[in-house]
Symmetry: D2
Subunit: 370 residues, 4 copies
């Protein structure tokens, strides 16, 4: 399959460029009978759109979604769902400079070589963070599908910005608080500090990175496919598609590599409501690539945003000589807060795809009389 | 595609169980005209096989590979290459206990539920680390293919065991030293310490985890496919298929999330031999999912081996009650050293698949007269 | 992969419904550097659009294509190309009757059962012949790609309508004449007779079927992949996606099954320009699933159009009782003439996909300075 | 996916060469809990094996299958099932002549060009009809799976050999009689005539082709996926993988192209047991790419076997000059009778894959206590 397609039985095709006519996606394989309207997608897109707060880019994009196919009388039909957002606030002129002077940290240079100079470089083209909106469109549908059919919920939130981090993992706290502040951190006090250093970074013409944590609950035991479609394999494949993601860990992750087996193994016990659970969750809810019924926990590391106002060294591709560059455009000093719905979307998408593969979600969801 | 198949234009199918008749793989899509014999696979398998040293499992498996198809007159033919290893040293009796008492940290419980009790649980069946030999078979071919056709080389080595780590990244040093000691660490002194704590862990009935670092050099600029088949996406999908892997990072990875953009961005410059390079390599050689010509650097975190001699708490699946378990079988106190060739294999496999997808490797490799 | 996606390295995703907002497609995997504009697609779409002549449906659809992504400065960029046609002349009211009374010969009944009554039935929804326009959009690009990069040309034409057929196969004659008459038959006299019986069928409230023949020339030797992606396998998979297609044969096809091996085998010889050719072409240019350098010949059988004006017997899905139906809407008495560009499109698409898979078409097509 | 893999959620990988060490296959995606042993495969393989009667090749191959993986305690486990047949009766010496002198009708020439002379040409290598045994191995499992889980049965039989044909389609008659004679024709008298002309063809150093008809019963309404994975699309893709197949039609097929819509449409009615059925079955049980509950009928045209004893014209690839060839080896004068189980296998395989995709077959088939 080509690179712009994700999934097996639920498939997502992303298209569009940052400064082209539109960005959009096609979702194929969604079961029939799911109640769905543009507002289901819009609510998630609004959480991702630019210009939301002082710590995001001031570029204004309404990002209003239009569904072009696949819905009839308010329900999915099993036909492919195409949805698009028309691009509005594009100012491409500043990008002429990057045509031959690749920005450090961006895809400019390898894309130029790979595509022989034919790629649309305006606003980073296909490599723009803007394209994550197409992931959110598909993921919003997957999220609704999972909740409606299986009661599965997925939430993500910020646990680190730059050097400031927050570690108390609690699903309920995170669900309640994450959207109450601009950085989407469950703890309001830490959130304030995070916000403050993002503002500082912007002022100094710099940028910050951070970590997003994502938890899924309500999962059945056994979701996933050994060995090459393990839950970790397919989730990481999807999540590494997000620009700026450079690290992913499940459960105790890298810190677990320093523990002993007797410390890291999650012993089994019987819960009060007579279910088999583990006492700890160092596995992040995944054993042998299969969910074990515990919350699925994944942490995603975002590098600091590549677009910074500071002058940097680069090269001129025509003269093959060194030169300076000041990156044009209006940018996020830290992409982490706006990445929250993107992470939720892709995790939901992969879980939904696996649930369909496994036959957990029926091909028709409702017996509504027509 | 089903879960036991990896790749697009170079595909690997893994089959077999730890205590079944054999383990094996089929590699489809290998160009014709590559000189290949069983010894090309055997040399890599020997680096993975059990019983090599005091710090690995004492289970003896010769792991002698047999190629069943796809080679004619010493060359690949473009036909699928099937290779197998007959299982020899299997003692399945001790595994009766795990049928209903799942081992902490293992796939036993979710696999039991997923497969309705039909899965082959002997020696962990399909979930056994033994199956990584099938990855090595395919990867050894990919490695030779990459080196012959494009001059690409990939090496992996141990940088952390438990709490002991080694950070001086040097491709040349690692290439030279990694196989000179039992833990496959480039630094002999650190290696000695690592070995010592592995022996201690075994003595105390416990296990250790660690980190493997992998570097590929000689890569062209532009390898990879945006957006869902980014280089990070496809490498992580493959690497998370290795049992015990719970964390992956590229370049500066998680530590890079704490840097500022001006610190983490890799500025461009012109090398002495007039090539475009970056001054640093925090990107790990990947920008926008595409290789940028710098060394590709990925770090893989392995949890401590799940099989430990210490008594642990588990549950009985029949009576739904808590009980103790002492894990049977002969096991590695730390899987990291034996995972080195597995990591190299999967990274090579993905790079080769992408090189073929991109048209870099011709469908016929040699003009040898026949 | 899900059902609305076709191809491996060149992929086509079709979306939209007959009476929905639009129909469209995404083509992923097209190499960068191909000069492309909407007119390249429009010229082929115009050959397929309704209302062209007295023998097609009188429904008027301008079918004006808009490219939404993937083109920059007049060239392909390697990014996915999305193109759509907004639906205009839809009158859905007459279709209420088919909601519960399935039309004979149409997908109504199985679609109703499969999708639990949620499918968009207006104008046949996803099953409408209208969706073949999405195949033409993608195929038009493939056709241009093949001609530009490899000089491969594909033409289709009508060889049978009802009981009237025309057998003299000549690539040059067909190329010259097929679009000179309404039925797209290379022979003007036969074409006149075919047209006449189509008009008769319409008058009597009935419909006709027929056969389309398709020839590709300029093919290299060896295109195709054994065994499950043989040239016949992949072409037939694509062509059977066209509504009404019920039969496909290559070369001597069914009539060849009555010959002896000594009659049907194509003996080799050396051509005047010193090439290896076959004296006959009963294989239709394909041996062992691979092209052999001779013209590729495939014949596609279309059943008579299912929508007829005559009253027919059907059942009521609500009362589970027999009833009559008079099929609503404005329809083609024979779909064959309008299917010509659809056949050319899908054959071109598969050939282009295989050429890319095989590495015949480079990822960047032009060295135009940018 | 590469060319030697078929299917989406049930996948079949074929490997091996006619005169290599073995031929084999891996079937991935089979649900757990299906009772399965080698005899389930052997019974179908015996129907395909050479040397069965006077009208097949006199080459002797026991074709004894060995299952190498995926079965535990007599049941499938959901793990990939590998099965092989060791090659025994191979005499490769006579094939030296075809290395440079391609046999008319065979893949020799395009394979030589495609693979740069590296392909294993002995006994036709990968292009040998012998490889259809790997299709039968996988198909035998699919057949059992379909019958056990859904009650679906598929039978094929000969309806034409050379110019002699038999048309009375009756599932019951065919099921009863097809294996009572050497040509597998349901009618014993016609079978005798067919046998006689096959013997004549052999005597005259020639070969014959023919037609196989295949019927599946017990199908649910709605199996198949629009539009590119229509039932016709996926069945034809699989069936055209069989060497010698050059034509496929469903239902009334090519003869239906000559009918009027009012004649070819299948009107609906209510059956005596209150089911919705059609009065006729010109659609071959498929509407809009979906099964409609009627018997699925497909006819497959086989060209006369390419290997004939008569001297033929060919070329010498080294000297680029014309020459004669007498095809070496022991061959079937007509492959149709031995193709019957191959057709049944591939049709069953595709139906099973679609049933799994659609969620009709549960991932665990039995609740047998373990």
């Amino acid at each position: 399959m080509t690179g712009n397609i994700l999934g097996e039985r639920l498939t997502l095709i992303s298209f569009g460029e940052s400064h082209g006519r539109c960005i959009g996606m096609v979702l194929d394989g969604c079961p029939a009978g799911l109640s769905l309207s543009e507002s289901d997608l819009q609510i998630e897109l609004d959480r991702r759109k630019p210009g939301q707060s002082i710590i995001t880019t001031q570029r204004k994009e309404e990002d209003k979604v239009e569904i072009l196919s696949g819905i009839f009388n308010g329900y999915t039909t099993s036909a492919p769902i195409c949805a698009i957002i028309w691009n509005r606030d594009s100012d491409s002129k500043p990008y002429e400079v990057i045509k031959n002077n690749p920005r450090p940290g961006h895809a400019d240079y390898p894309s130029f070589i790979k595509n022989g100079g034919f790629a649309d470089y305006r606003g980073s083209g296909r490599f723009s963070g803007r394209l994550t909106a197409t992931m959110v469109m598909g993921g919003a549908i997957a999220q609704k599908l999972l909740k409606y059919s299986l009661g599965i919920e997925t939430i993500a939130y910020t646990t680190q910005i730059g050097q400031i981090s927050y570690n108390s993992l609690s699903y309920e706290e995170a669900k309640l608080n994450r959207y109450t502040n601009d950085v989407r951190c469950p703890n309001p006090e830490i959130a304030e500090k995070m916000k403050s250093i993002i503002i500082d970074a912007r002022k100094s013409g710099d940028s910050l990175g951070g970590i997003v944590e994502c938890i899924s609950v309500g999962l059945p035991v056994g979701l996933g496919e050994p060995i090459f479609s393990s839950m970790e394999s397919d989730l990481s494949k999807a999540l590494f598609s997000i620009p700026s993601v450079k690290a992913i860990e499940f459960g105790s992750g890298f810190s677990g590599t320093k523990l002993k087996g007797s410390e890291n193994n999650d012993e089994y016990t019987i819960s009060e409501d007579n279910k088999i659970i583990t006492k700890t969750n160092n596995s992040g809810g995944i054993l042998g690539g299969l969910t074990n019924g515990m919350p699925l926990v994944v942490r995603i590391g975002f590098k600091p945003a590549s677009s910074i106002a500071k002058k940097q060294k680069t090269v001129d591709l025509v003269s093959n000589s060194e030169c300076d560059i000041v990156v044009p455009g209006r940018h996020d000093p830290c992409v982490v807060p706006r990445a929250i719905p993107v992470v939720e979307s892709l995790v939901s998408f992969i879980l939904a795809d696996h649930a369909i593969r496994w036959g957990l979600i029926p091909p028709v969801l409702s017996d509504r009389k027509k």
